[in-house]
Symmetry: C2
Subunit: 220 residues, 2 copies
Amino acid sequence: MTLSEEDYIKAIYHLSEFNSKSVATNAIAEQMKTKPSSVTDMIKKLAEKSLVNYKKYQGVSLSEKGRLVALSIIRKHRLWEVFLVDKLNFSWDEVHVVAEQLEHIKSDALIDKLDAHLGFPKVDPHGDPIPNKDGVFTKSVKKLISELPVGSQGACVGVNDSSAAFLKFLDKNKIALGDTFKILEIEEFDGSVTISTRSGSIRISKQIATNLFLEIVDEE
Amino acid sequence: MTLSEEDYIKAIYHLSEFNSKSVATNAIAEQMKTKPSSVTDMIKKLAEKSLVNYKKYQGVSLSEKGRLVALSIIRKHRLWEVFLVDKLNFSWDEVHVVAEQLEHIKSDALIDKLDAHLGFPKVDPHGDPIPNKDGVFTKSVKKLISELPVGSQGACVGVNDSSAAFLKFLDKNKIALGDTFKILEIEEFDGSVTISTRSGSIRISKQIATNLFLEIVDEE
DNA sequence: ACAATTTTTTAGATTTGTCTAAAATTATAT
DNA sequence: ATATAATTTTAGACAAATCTAAAAAATTGT
Ligand SMILES: [Mn+2]
Ligand SMILES: [Mn+2]
Ligand SMILES: [Mn+2]
Ligand SMILES: [Mn+2]
């Protein structure tokens, strides 16, 4: 698999991660920052290799084979992110671009030993789950703060908007991955939410609440 | 710089590391496992970018700019090798192929933090020196066992032949990087050398002696 | 229903890195 | 010195990944 093929496979995976429908050519082009015609060319190649299901004008979806390829790249990406944060002291808003390169290094031994070195982590620095060798991962029961009722509590495990701007905003407001929050009050007027933290309670805007994931403890 | 350009620059560096003359097209082709015509094409591109000095039919040599590029890639290669051995418990005969990929990851912050994480190592697992950010490295005063007189002693810091076969042979014979050896006797008949080790004295063949470097302590 | 718009695909070029076959140049041997 | 051999370069082709412009198909609005 070439680096480019891997990035396309990963893009298709992420675009169909939640809705599960087939993915549009234009959507892939936008994600990959390329032109729709280039996407069509690549889709044909991936279809040729049985990595995607493709019918002209009908969009594309990953085959089972393609899904496993996607998960192995995501596994590598997220393990490298853990390494960068835990071992090299990167902050969690800096790691994505570097992991984007490291995910393409080809060595099974390397990724096994890296996994062991990191203590077999289950989530990456953004709270996203790390698939195992066979592409299996515990579907996280994380929910956006804005989706939760008063009284809910859980660990902050991830962000929806992973832009550097948002991640920096969180750092500035002393909101860090792993912190436990409890929802104290939801303001109907503007959707802002009061949450309790270790250092007291703070009020966050609706926009923040729709971009922060909590892993809920009292949910099966 | 593309991955391919970087590998060519590194190949030219290594081929002119000791003799300092210009490097032949065929030599590069052999090193890069490609055809001479491909080498000529690449040389033209590198010359265009002022990374090499090139006159048709006269071979090629690195410009100062090219030399610095080579050293920055070698720095990355060797730091990654240290990481793989020290942190991930690879053995020293396994790391080269993986480092060959990792050396192309582009991130100044990454390599700085990796360097710090490793404790600013001066040599890689094969005893080869690691250039600093500016391409400066302490020229090692290492010599082959076969070049040393009786009575010399020093730490084993590297190998000439870095083939997996040779490195495995060393492991089997309990010869490891960092071990201190003293030359007890040189057999004129076959060039074999008797050396003292922690666990007693052993005799090594001339072929071994011409492939093991010692860092001599009593030399300035 | 069907014209207008949007999406997707095709056709034809371009860049990068490679190849084979042939020509040009340099080195070697008698 | 000059024929022979080896090395190096050129010419022309190809696969991968991209692009622009144009054609084809699907979607949308009235
Ligand atoms: Mn990537
Ligand atoms: Mn992540
Ligand atoms: Mn390389
Ligand atoms: Mn090395």
